[in-house]
Amino acid sequence: MSESANLLRLVDGAPRVVAENWRIIESAALWDGSGGAILPLELVVAQTERVRASGRAGIWLSPTDDPACTVEFFPWIALIGVQFPKFTDGRGYSSAVLLRTRYGWRGELRALGDILPDQLFALRRVGFDSFALRADQDPVTALAAFFPFSEAYQGSVNPPFPLFRRASTCT
């Protein structure tokens, strides 16, 4: 993974193309110890104090990483990334739901990797609030595809209640 030029972030619920200064560090060997990095969970677990001393830090999770392992770092990390190696690998959606609803992560939750316009609606619904589009993707197309549906049946992270518990939607 490299630094993303195509970043969308929800600002008051609306997606905006934003500039960005986080660096994504793929593996421990590639990290020079400086701040402003999104680091692999494994590295943060192994070198917790070094990461904490580096300043502003984030963690990214692979599909097999257990989101529960990030909880101890919540007090001082600024961002959690969830990596999608392929957009058809759906594990990251459950990771996001767990981070938001079970472990109570309120900070920035970023979708990383093979992030394409047609998955943004679902990614937003499971709690992501920033989206690092795959480098070749056009952010304008992504903005246009962001809200294909005006309603959703299920509760998830957003909205948390199913349609049948929300007011006056069946009339």
């Binding site: 759906g90 959606y93 739901v97 499971v126 056009d138 549906f149 959703a152 209640f161 518990r165 009339t171």
Partner: protein, 564 residues
């Protein structure tokens, strides 16, 4: 039947607009083939042998006559004038272009239908008992629960990219499973507990394919209001831990088997504990709202045995024979559920042309409150026919060629489209079905044989459910040629304990040998059976050995032919 609310309609319309835009972007090169593939699959669109195939969802098998007429229009306008009813209560069209599909989806949306999640690694169409709501043996009508699940699973944001496809079935009969529930990834057996509350016995990990498995019980007596949250818990466990490294090991059955059913159930329970009684819990009000759509039609007070019917049965042998196979009991006196056979000579099993669809819609309007049901055996049920009108219905159905008295008999063949259409198939299946139907077209013989299920799949994906046919036929590819493996003893029982996977009898046969092999198997059965003993019961009693030895004494399997 359930009618869309404005919100339901809007969601389906928005889905059409979304897919229209995706096709435009694909044409413009902004979406690659690989990127479009999962998107089109989740709109029911496969790329097939001849052209794309569109699979349209018929939720829990229920169709209004106006919907069937719309399907006929679609067949005429965008296809070659016919459709194919599949084994999972879908209809498939085989001759469309990708560019036409948004228009077809829009036409479906106008009659409250869609193709959402009829393919892809997501929750598929929820299937159920075609006799739901009228069956005398059900203690609860499963349809409102199916619709609850349909809405919950539609466009679920967390479960659109599961390790593999995920099929749910719901059954509510105590004595017969007409939805093959135990062969599904997730199955609910609905019943009433001692207090009269609707609960579900939940099974998971069933499936066909190259590792056929009967589902295991994972939860007993789950109160109905937890159906959605329990499903969410189970799918989350599967989504996180199901295998993604090997396509052939990615169904939930492999996870259930590798963990063991009790450990799998424990993990689901652990997840469910966080969701239980949470906001996703279904409400009485929502169930009641949905159930309104399934309120009983305005039945009249009718006689159970009208004198005219008795006379017609006594006077007309053909009618009487059809009556014994096609007419089922009904919970309302004076009514019957009637199965119209889509298994007739000259047609692939489950195929219906547009004119016949229109005629079926007319029959539904005239005889059955404008509703039809599609069965997983690929027939059509008119579920609310007045018994005094049975003779008229039979007369009309006979003209249409839909009154073959073979329901539940040997020639009521369940069959996938096979190598004639499907890109996945190893072998053709329709010509095998037709050869069997031609060889065994003597109704006296068929009725004497009694109930036998015969299922044909053109490949190990098992869309023809050959694993659970009393006689199963599987197309296999052997050095570029098509051969057929025979299994015996498959059965869908009332619950997992009474459901079994057939046993392969030995080496495969060439296409032209298959009907002869079936003839030998039937001869052995007739010789060994006790009076009134069904084929499957004889088979259970004597085992496959006598069948096997007779078959291989009569026919040289391919391995020998190859060396000739």
């Amino acid at each position: 039947m359930y009618r869309y609310t404005p919100t339901d309609q809007r969601i389906v319309n928005e889905r059409v607009a979304q897919f229209r835009d995706q096709v435009v972007r694909w044409k413009a090169g902004a979406l690659s083939d690989d990127e479009l593939r999962p998107l089109r699959l989740q709109n029911g669109l496969y790329v097939q042998r001849h052209a794309p195939m569109l699979r349209v969802s018929i939720p829990y098998g229920l169709l209004g006559s106006y919907q069937l007429r719309a399907l006929a229009d679609i067949a005429r306008t965008w296809d070659r004038g016919y459709g194919h009813f599949s084994t999972r209560q879908n209809i498939q069209f085989n001759w469309m272009t990708i560019e036409q599909v948004p228009e077809v989806l829009a036409a479906l949306a106008r009659v409250q239908m869609h193709a959402i999640q009829t393919s892809g690694n997501c929750v598929r169409n929820i299937t159920s008992d075609p006799l739901a709501g009228v069956a005398p043996d059900e203690s609860v009508d499963p349809r409102p629960y199916c619709e609850l699940l349909r809405q919950w699973s539609a466009l679920h944001p967390e479960f659109a990219f599961l390790p593999r496809k995920f099929k749910i079935a719901v059954s509510a009969s105590d004595i017969e499973d007409r939805a093959a529930t135990a062969m599904h990834d997730l199955g609910f057996y609905l019943r009433r507990d001692a207090a009269g509350q609707v609960v579900a016995d939940v099974v998971a990990g069933g499936g066909m394919g190259r590792t056929p498995m009967v589902a295991s019980i994972v939860r007993r007596a789950l109160p109905w209001r937890h159906l959605l949250t329990y499903t969410e818990a189970l799918l989350r466990v599967y989504n996180r831990y199901g295998r993604r490294d090997n396509l052939f090991k990615s169904r939930i059955k492999i996870l259930v088997r590798s963990l063991g059913a009790s450990e799998f159930a424990r993990q689901v329970d652990e997840e469910f504990a966080f969701l239980q009684d949470g906001p996703g819990t279904a409400t009485e009000a929502e169930l009641a709202r949905i159930a309104e759509g399934f309120a009983a039609p305005r039945y009249s007070a009718l006689e159970r045995y009208p004198a005219a019917l008795q006379e017609q049965l006594a006077a007309n042998f053909g009618f009487a024979r059809w009556y014994t196979r096609s007419v089922r009991g009904h919970r309302v006196e004076g009514y019957a559920a009637v199965t119209l056979s889509l298994k007739r000579r000259g047609f692939a099993p489950g195929d219906v042309d547009a004119a016949t669809m229109d005629a079926l819609a007319d029959l539904a309007d005239q005889y059955s409150f404008g509703e039809l049901r599609v069965t997983h055996e690929q027939n059509i049920v008119l579920a609310d026919v007045p018994r005094h009108a049975l003779f008229d219905l039979w007369t009309a159905a006979r003209v249409l060629g839909l009154a073959t008295a073979n329901i539940g008999l040997l020639t009521d063949i369940v069959c996938c489209p096979g190598g004639d259409f499907c890109a996945l198939a190893n072998a053709k299946s329709i010509p095998i079905a037709q050869a069997i139907q031609e060889r065994f077209d003597d109704l006296d013989y068929l009725h004497d044989l009694g109930e036998i299920s015969l299922n044909i799949s053109g490949c190990i994906n098992s869309c023809g459910h050959h694993h659970v046919g009393n006689i199963g036929i599987l197309g296999v590819d052997k050095q570029g040629a098509e051969f057929y493996q025979i299994t015996l003893g498959g059965e869908v029982g009332a619950d997992p304990a009474r459901t079994s996977i057939g046993t392969v009898i030995g080496p495969a046969f060439a296409a032209q040998q298959v009907s002869g092999v079936i003839a030998t198997i039937l001869d052995i059965y007739v010789g060994l059976r006790y009076p009134d003993e069904r084929f499957i019961d004889t088979l259970h009693r004597v085992g496959i050995a006598p069948f096997k030895s007779a078959v291989y004494a009569m026919q040289h399997p391919i391995d020998e032919i190859e060396h000739v």
